[in-house]
Symmetry: D2
Subunit: 114 residues, 4 copies
């Protein structure tokens, strides 16, 4: 058990960042649909779907101590960056907050994958 | 192994319906975002997200022969029905096709859960 | 946005419990595979798979403010209870901790679904 | 809609391979737990969990026409190869069949990502 505990401890910060980013993406997507300019947010919604999905998966593979946690976190960082950039273009609170979460998650995932 | 094979055989039609419905929902959501009335489709998009998620889960738990396959298929049928009803309100091809997939999946899930 | 924020705030404790339970299940499953009596843990592993999956889904649908969050949390509570009972039969630390997480999550999910 | 339809058509074979591989992995994992040498299958079970997860995700992102479908299929191919190699070491029918599914899925994912 020692190995598993150490691994998961070491991943703890990245797992939390992924969970937090997934929540922000799911919530931001719901909020985007209610905005008056919802029709202009197609690309944003697409990225939020991908980002929520990959964050959820990254969190799980780290929790299980997978050999592929690094490979998945690398893709997660890439998607989080793209999502942060798109969300960052919108001035509403949920998009700005989501962009911050995505950037923080990308950073943790890069560190983890290094 | 016999038991597993029999179970999965027996679930085969419902697994296929869930996979097919998940695909239709993911594709329909993407297409809804590009429609001129995208802003009026908030509820539809919400239901498509839920429906794709629960269909994906139902497919997996049936594939693994889970004790909770019935309970999950029951919720899946409920969400598929709601999604079919909402998609059915829009006249474009992708919504009409998705509504059909949702109805077919709901029926298979109800049979499976019975 | 107020509605979304309020909903998610209200779900916060249950979302956290689901994320935490998902992590415990993924980690416990990995640890079970390394135990000397791994061959006796087939039912435990099956329940851990289901429990990790439904917790992950419950967390996401609450985060998005889904109309079906209650229905999914109801199934989640049921699966968490079954998993807690099975994990509770094993004396190692990871199973005991996972059983506690499952029980706590089941309670939050029942409250949320009520 | 034309673009979406074309994309998804083009992905069709790979989506089907991912769905089929996910099912094989879920089913094979359940069957591995019932084998007399279940205790020797820890690494196999770990890879089956990862493989089922990434196949399920790949299927969804292709269905939605995601910009990251290629990146995710690249990781999927890598995990499928590793899973095929490990499953291939066991002589029972479910592992041999799962290895075949994994190899076929890896090939489709590589083609798709190219």
């Amino acid at each position: 058990m020692a190995v598993v505990h150490t691994d998961v401890q070491q991943y703890k910060k990245c797992i939390d960042a992924c969970n937090s980013c997934m929540q922000a993406c799911e919530q931001c997507l719901t909020a985007c649909l209610k905005e008056p300019d919802a029709a202009q947010r197609g690309r944003c919604v697409q990225l939020l779907r991908d980002c929520a999905d990959i964050c959820a998966l990254a969190s799980r593979v780290m929790s299980r101590g997978s050999d592929f946690a690094g490979a998945i976190c690398r893709v997660c960082a890439e998607i989080c960056e793209a999502c942060a950039q798109e969300c960052g273009r919108f001035q509403d609170e949920h998009c700005q907050e989501c962009a911050r979460e995505c950037r923080a998650c990308a950073e943790e995932c890069r560190r983890m994958a290094a």
